[in-house]
C-alpha cells in the first residue's frame, strides 16, 4: 500500500507548514493533514496559512496518523523518537526533515518498531527565516528531497519517494553518512562562515553607522545565513559536529592558500580565484 492517508506533521515552522501546504493541494493524495506544535498558537497560525486542516492539541494524537512527518530541529527529532518512536503503529510511514541525518537515522533504527516504515528525509529548500509565515509552498517544486534509508525496507523508501513526488519535489536516495558529509560543507559550514563574517564586519570601524551605510549587496548575500535561528543551527551543527569540524579545517586550509596567493601577486591570486569560480560554476549550474 502506498497511500499517504492521514498525515500528522510535528512542527509548524517554515518546513512543516510548507509540507502541509503542499499536502493540502488536491491531488497530493492526503486524506487529512493535521499539525502538532508544542506551541499551539504556532500550530493554529500554520492552519490559518493553509498548512493543515487542524491543529492537534495533544502530542499523542500524532500516533493515529498513517504518515508522520517530523519537521522540528534535529535534537527535537531525536527526543521525539525517544519518547514516541516506539509507539508508532505498524504500517505507518515516518519521515523527518532534519538537516543532519546520521543521528536521526540511528535513533529511528533504535526506537521505531520494525513494522513501521521509517526513512530519514531532508528537503533541500529551507531558508534562514523561521515560523509558519516563512513557508512558501512553491519552494518544494523541483527541489531535491534527500531520502536516507533506515533499514532494508523497500516499502518505506517507495512510500517516502511517492510522498515526496506528490509534493512536486525530487526524491534522491543517499546514505545518512554521505548526506552529512556533503551537508557539512554545503550548508552547515556556510552558516558558521556567515556568523563569523557578520562579527568581523561589525568591527570594521568604530563608526557603526558608517559601516552600516557601506554594506552592499555582496555582504547582504554572503552574511544572510547569520540570521538563521541559533537554536536550529546549533541543533544541526552539534548533530554533525565531526564532519563540520573537518569542513572547518578544510576551509582554513583553502583560506590559507588564498592568503598566500594574496601575498604572491596578480597571477597567483587570479589563479586561486579562478579555481573557486570554476568550483562554483560546477556546483551551481543556474544561479538562483
Amino acid at each position: 500500500m502506498t497511500e499517504i492517508g492521514r498525515v500528522a506533521i510535528v512542527g509548524a515552522g517554515q518546513i512543516g507548514t510548507m509540507l502541509g501546504q503542499a499536502l493540502m493541494d488536491t491531488g497530493a493524495g492526503a486524506a487529512e493533514v493535521a499539525v502538532f506544535d508544542r506551541d499551539l498558537e504556532v500550530a493554529r497560525a500554520s492552519v490559518a496559512l493553509g498548512g493543515a486542516q487542524l491543529a492537534l492539541e495533544r502530542a499523542e494524537l500524532v500516533l493515529e496518523a498513517d504518515t508522520v512527518i517530523l519537521a522540528v530541529p534535529v535534537d527535537e527529532i531525536v527526543r521525539w523518537l525517544e519518547e514516541w518512536g516506539g509507539m508508532l503503529r505498524p504500517g505507518c510511514l515516518l519521515l523527518d526533515t532534519g538537516s543532519a541525518k546520521v543521528q536521526v537515522v540511528a535513533a529511528m533504527r533504535q526506537y521505531v518498531p520494525p513494522l513501521a516504515h521509517a526513512v530519514g528525509g531532508h528537503p533541500i529548500c529551507g531558508t534562514e527565516t523561521t515560523g509558519p509565515a516563512a513557508a512558501r509552498r512553491e519552494a518544494l517544486r523541483g527541489a531535491i528531497f534527500a531520502l536516507a534509508p533506515v533499514r532494508p525496507d523497500q516499502v518505506a523508501l517507495d512510500r517516502a519517494a511517492d510522498l515526496v513526488s506528490s509534493l512536486g519535489s525530487v526524491p534522491l536516495q543517499l546514505s545518512c553518512e554521505q548526506h552529512d558529509r556533503i551537508l557539512a560543507r554545503s550548508s552547515h559550514l556556510p552558516h558558521l562562515l556567515a556568523t563569523a563574517l557578520a562579527c568581523v564586519c561589525l568591527g570594521a570601524d568604530d563608526d557603526r553607522q558608517m559601516v552600516r551605510a557601506m554594506v552592499g549587496p555582496g555582504f547582504v548575500g554572503a552574511s544572510r545565513l547569520a540570521e538563521a535561528s541559533p537554536e536550529m543551527v546549533a541543533s544541526f551543527a552539534l548533530a554533525n559536529s565531526m564532519e563540520l569540524s573537518c569542513a572547518l579545517e578544510e576551509f582554513g586550509r583553502e583560506l590559507a592558500l588564498l592568503a598566500e596567493a594574496l601575498g604572491g601577486g596578480e597571477v597567483a591570486l587570479r589563479s586561486a580565484l579562478n579555481r573557486g569560480g570554476e568550483a562554483r560554476r560546477e556546483l551551481v549550474r543556474i544561479s538562483v
Copy 2:
C-alpha cells in the same frame, strides 16, 4: 560651476554602463555621454544598451570631456592616471568607481593637475556579474556612493556629490583609509570566503553529481561572489592587501571561536551564533 557637461566614461562594463544609463536620463543634466573601452565592441554594446550616446574610438578623446568617470578595475584606474591624469583639463571633474580607494586617491594626488577636480568614488551597488549586459540602472537608485577627498577641494566634492545625486544615489563622504578598512571586511573578505567555500564544497564527495544535487539555497547565496571576475577581484584585493590580510586574520579568530563553541555544546554554540545574528541585524536593517 556645478554643471556635468559632456561626460566620458572609461570602461563599458557593468558599472560604467549603469552610470551611463543613469546619466542618459533626461534631467540628469549631462550634455553628452560618451564611453571608451579598450575593447571597442564592448563600448558599442554599452551604447546599444543605452549606456552612452557614442563609443569613443581613441583613448585621448576622453580628455575633451567636462566630467571623466573611470569605471575599470582598480589597477587599470591607477594605470590610466599614470598615462592620462596629467593631461586632464583645468576645471574638469574626475571621478572613479573602484572598490579600493587608498591607491587610487594617492595616484590622483600624484598625477591630476591642481586645476582639475578629482574625487575618489565608489558606488556600493555592484554585483558579481560583469559586462554591459549586467548593468541595471535601477541599482543606483538609493544606493550609497562613497566619495573620498583627494585634496582640500570643496568644488570637487560639491560637483561629485551633485553628480551622484543626479543619478539617484546618495553621496557619502569618508576618507580613502576608512573606505578601504570597511570594504576589506564588508566586500573584499566575502569574495575570498566564497571562493574558499566553493572549493571545500566541491570536494565534499567523490560523486560530484550528488554534491551538485544536494547544494541548496544557502550555498547558492553564500558562494555567489566566487563567480565574480578574478581580474576584478584580484585587482581590488591586491590594492587593499594590507587591510584584507588583517580582515583574514580577524576572520580566522572568529572562526576559531565558533569551532571552540562547537566543541562546547549547545549553550556556548547558541550564544556564539546569536552574536553573529545580532551583528548581521545591526548591519542589514532590511534584508534584500
